[in-house]
């Protein structure tokens, strides 16, 4: 005999303003099987939950339906409340009468009726709910950190310092990411490499961290606490264990004209190379797409001949290793738009129109100009530089509506650095708004404007063109008399938009996590779960989620690390028991499953396997399908797939769904 309790929440005015909650409660009390029904202002509040708990005890309820907001919001809250009152939490269901009813329909009888109908369907469903027990699974206390930029480094160090193993995967030959390329950092102007490189070294030397540089994630299977990753270790052609990094190979390599990625193409590198002098690990790799030996079938081999340690081996191949991990921190970073994205700024034709990252390299003491600001075309020191903020960002026509967040600050920094290095120079900044909302950020921008005399012009630049060796920057000053302005510049720096990595979509698919329309990876909740993803055990850090500056990336790295350590603080994980199972019955049938096993390929988690049912003598009497509850994630595809309903899924059983559908009862 069902004794269902129905609890209707007003959600303040959110539900009550369009739904007559009192009448819903009254009608609900007349549904067969409902033995208790009330409405209340805030069901999720403490007194609201007490009402549920008291009713469960007082009325000996064996099922609860809370008609309130979305179950995606408060299902755990109410299930917990039920559990505290001694009712199995899985006997509690939520009827969504807020998001799916009161908020989307006007006040009126129809809306009230719909709320009641939604509730009634759930009452019918809950009558068929059964007690479920959570599933326990073991936790592998090793974390994968994907990406060795500052966010990944921070996450890896924090997890490792908490005593857990970390596997760091970096696609480039060295860790360090974008931060290693920067000159000085705002708002303190401390040198980026000076603060980052010690961290990089710490990663390399940490006993708990295994660094896989020049490696990529191939695939990730499994689930929270029990991931299985395949990592591709790209062939380095140099044995890092033997190599002493003496530098003979790269100084003698005949292929010298490859644009240097680390210096954003402003200098050249060789085919065997270390990306930058402070690289970690500081061992060279051979770029096989450029190396003569590989491009021209075995010609050359100079480095191999000259290597004093005989560390070079052209025969090494990509290697794929399999590792187990309990959690993944995704810190794959970002890319920027390049100058060729802007037709109005010359489609990348003008050498002296550069992007912000290139300016960082020009300003960096370890950069191609050793920190002197020289323009790329002829190496002259530019006397006038125009900086353009929001190049691409906040521009719907360019398909990038969002703010890239860091450009206002680094543009101010760039202008300031230029003025510090070349006092007579003129610097102009075109901007839309100045967004300097961090600690000491606005002060920094004010300093740039007031002390360093950088000319800020509020307006957009419509065109850049070359005339008589000058770059003519045409824009508008929208303040005061709103005049068009033209500036003859020697160099233009575009603060180009930050965009998601080109491969971010495929990374997301490998990890089974979501991404937004700009291909940034999606957090589970924009406010309350900013570092988690929708897939348990996978966390986000840094700019792979959205444009971020260094302090933010570091904070999120630490936040992700703390999530990982929280996860690792348990030896076992409790999982929702929403899993599929194959039915069992008495001999001689044993199960209605006929063992066609066509369901095996359907399972995305490879959770279905063959099971042989044996009798007491150990003879196989029947072969059936078996669902491994530890692997099953509860999608239920196999349930709908099974022809004779031998598989069912807890929480969404055939019986429950059938009843819910039939209760539509139009």
């Amino acid at each position: 005999m069902s004794r269902i309790g129905v609890f209707i929440c007003h959600c303040g005015e959110n539900i009550a303003s369009t739904v007559d909650c009192e009448s819903v409660a009254k009608s609900a009390s007349e549904i067969p099987g409902v033995s208790f029904s009330i409405d209340y202002k805030y069901m999720c509040s403490d007194p609201g939950q007490s009402k549920i708990k008291n009713a469960i005890i007082e009325h000996k309820l064996n099922g609860v339906v809370v008609a309130a907001c979305s179950p995606r919001m408060h299902e755990p809250t109410f299930r917990k409340a039920c559990a505290e009152a001694g009712l199995n939490p899985y006997l509690c269901e939520m009827a969504n009468i807020r998001e799916h009813c009161s908020w989307v329909h006007p006040k009126g009888e129809e809306t009230t009726f719909k709320a009641f109908e939604i509730l009634r369907m759930l009452v019918e469903k809950v009558k068929r709910n059964t007690k479920l027990l959570p599933i326990k699974v073991p936790v592998t206390k090793t974390a994968i950190v994907l990406g060795g930029g500052v966010a990944g480094i921070q996450a890896a160090l924090d997890i490792a310092n908490a005593g857990h193993k970390v596997l760091m995967i970096e696609k480039d030959p060295s860790i360090g990411g974008h931060m290693a390329m920067l000159s000085e950092t705002f708002p303190t102007l401390d040198c980026s490499q000076c603060i980052l490189t010690p961290r990089m070294v710490e990663v390399a030397q940490h006993p708990n961290i295994t660094l896989y540089n020049y490696a990529e994630l191939e695939s990730l299977d499994g689930f929270i606490g029990n991931f299985k990753a395949r990592i591709r270790l790209k062939a380095k052609s140099v044995d890092p264990k033997i190599c002493t990094a003496c530098g003979v190979c790269w100084s003698k390599c005949p292929v010298k004209k490859i644009p240097d990625e680390f210096n954003t193409g402003l200098s050249k590198r060789t085919a065997i190379y270390v990306p930058f002098p402070q690289a970690v690990p500081n061992k060279p790799v051979i770029d096989r797409t450029q190396c003569t030996y590989f491009v021209k079938n075995g010609k050359c081999g100079v480095c191999k001949k000259l290597c004093p340690a005989s560390a070079i081996d052209f025969e090494t191949k990509d290697e794929i290793i399999e590792v187990n991990a309990g959690a993944v921190v995704v810190a794959t970073g970002f890319e920027i738009k390049h100058t060729d994205f802007f037709p109005e700024y010359g489609y990348g034709r003008y050498k002296d129109v550069i992007d912000g990252l290139q300016f960082e390299r020009l300003a960096s003491a370890s950069g191609p100009t050793l920190g002197e600001i020289k323009r790329p075309s002829d190496g002259k020191v530019p006397e006038t530089i125009v900086f353009i903020a929001c190049a691409g960002s906040r521009d719907k026509a360019k398909g990038i509506e969002y703010c890239s967040k860091i450009c206002c600050m680094y543009t101010a920094k760039h202008a300031m650095l230029y003025k510090h290095k070349f006092h007579e120079g003129k610097a102009y900044v075109f901007y839309i708004d100045i967004r300097a909302n961090g600690k000491n950020y606005d002060e920094f921008v004010r300093r740039t404007i007031e002390e360093d005399d950088v000319n800020y012009i509020r307006g957009r630049v419509s065109r850049i063109y070359e005339s008589n060796g000058k770059l003519i920057v045409k824009g508008v000053d929208t303040l005061l008399n709103a005049q068009p302005v033209e500036i003859e510049a020697d160099m233009v720096v575009l603060a180009t938009a930050i965009v998601a990595n080109a491969d971010s979509e495929s990374v997301a698919q490998k990890l089974h996590i979501g991404y937004d329309k700009h291909h940034f990876l999606s957090e589970a909740h924009p406010k309350l779960r900013p570092v988690e993803t929708n897939t348990g055990g996978i966390f986000l850090a840094g700019a792979c989620q959205a444009p971020k500056d260094i302090p933010e990336s570091v904070s999120q790295g630490s936040a992700a690390a703390s999530k990982v350590t929280i996860l690792f603080s348990n030896d076992e994980l409790t999982r929702e028991p929403q899993v599929a199972f194959v039915n069992r019955t008495f001999p001689p049938q044993y199960s209605s499953c006929t063992g066609c096993l066509l369901c095996i390929p359907v399972c995305p988690y490879k959770a279905i396997e063959k099971e042989e049912i044996k009798n007491r003598n150990g003879e196989v009497v029947k072969t059936v399908a078996y669902v491994n509850g530890g692997l099953c994630q509860g999608c239920g595809t196999c349930v709908a797939f099974c022809r004779n309903k031998s598989i069912d899924i807890q929480g969404f059983t055939n019986e429950q769904m059938f009843t819910e559908v039939m209760a539509l009862n139009f």
Binding site: P343, E344, Y347, R463, Y465, E466, S467, I472
Partner: protein, 295 residues
């Protein structure tokens, strides 16, 4: 091949030569341009500044007439007319209710789905494939292609690729043996809308365009808009006095250049109708391939 043709006022007046050369080029490619009957003013430059309803109704009537007269394609050579008519079509197609209202006022039922051609689209889609083997005179001229504003903007209505840096004219003229140059003022404003009220501003803006073309050593400026043409051609004395130098680069309609390449006689292209002298250049083009210069 019959295609509806809306000349608009400019092509019957100030840019008669545009009309002449366009018809000559189309005819030589076997395309008949059939003027739509009873056409009216498109309302450009004044209506949309004063009365939105009128600004919509005038071009709508042209669309409706063309459809009523059985055309499925409509060529509008004047950039301003095209802009007004395409904008009207865009509005009508976005809003079925509006279309019904307009049909009601015009007393003509129409769907506004006729395919519109601006001169560039017409030349690149219809003419270009036909002229490849018909080029008689290689132009051998450094040409700066000037688009102005209305042919490429607003991009969401004009649906132009590379609206900041279009290359349609360059592609066509390169086929005709010209050498399109890389310059900076392709899509800058010539000041046409101010040419009556503030001629001084128009002159200044046009001056900058021509100055850059001259700096980049252009021998001829190609245009596809009557307003651009009149500003760059007719205002030359003003421009030269502003520059305190003499720029004598002729400004020709792209159709005239194509016509020359096709060997169509100069007077049929209206080449004599310009203020800036072009006879030397024209005769050079015609004479290099030993075709007698008819001019």
């Amino acid at each position: 091949m019959n295609i509806g043709f809306y000349p608009g006022c400019s092509l019957t007046g100030t840019s008669k030569e545009y009309n002449e050369s366009l018809v000559a080029v189309a005819t030589s490619c076997g395309i008949t341009l059939q003027e739509i009957g009873e056409w009216n003013c498109c309302g450009a430059s004044s209506a949309h500044a004063l009365n939105h309803e009128l600004a919509l109704l005038l071009p709508s009537r042209i669309l409706a007439l063309a459809e009523q007269q059985g055309f499925t394609e409509l060529l509008i050579p004047c950039a301003a007319c095209y802009s007004r008519i395409a904008t009207a079509q865009h509005q009508l197609l976005q809003d079925a209710k509006l279309l019904a209202e307009v049909s009601e006022i015009l007393k003509i039922k129409f769907t506004a789905t006729i395919k519109l051609f601006n001169p560039l689209k017409f030349l690149s889609e219809k003419i270009l494939p036909l002229i490849e083997d018909k080029i008689k005179n290689k132009l051998n001229l450094k040409v700066s292609c000037y688009y102005g504003c209305l042919l490429v903007r607003p991009p969401q209505i004009m649906k132009t690729e590379r609206f900041e840096d279009p290359v349609v004219m360059e592609n066509i003229l390169a086929k005709c043996g010209a050498y399109p140059i890389d310059w900076n003022f392709k899509t800058e404003c010539c000041g046409a809308s101010l040419s009556i009220a503030r001629g001084d501003i128009s002159s200044k803006l046009s001056m900058r365009i021509l100055r850059d073309a001259a700096d980049k050593k252009a021998e001829v400026v190609a245009v596809a808009c009557p307003m651009c043409h009149s500003n760059l051609d007719m205002r030359r004395p003003d421009i030269n006095s502003l520059l305190t130098a003499k720029i004598d680069i002729p400004v020709l309609f792209i159709t005239q250049l194509i016509g020359m390449a096709l060997g169509i006689p100069a007077e049929k292209l209206g080449l004599h109708r310009h203020f800036v002298k072009n006879d030397k250049m024209v005769s050079n083009v015609y004479s290099q391939n030993k075709v007698e210069c008819p001019a």
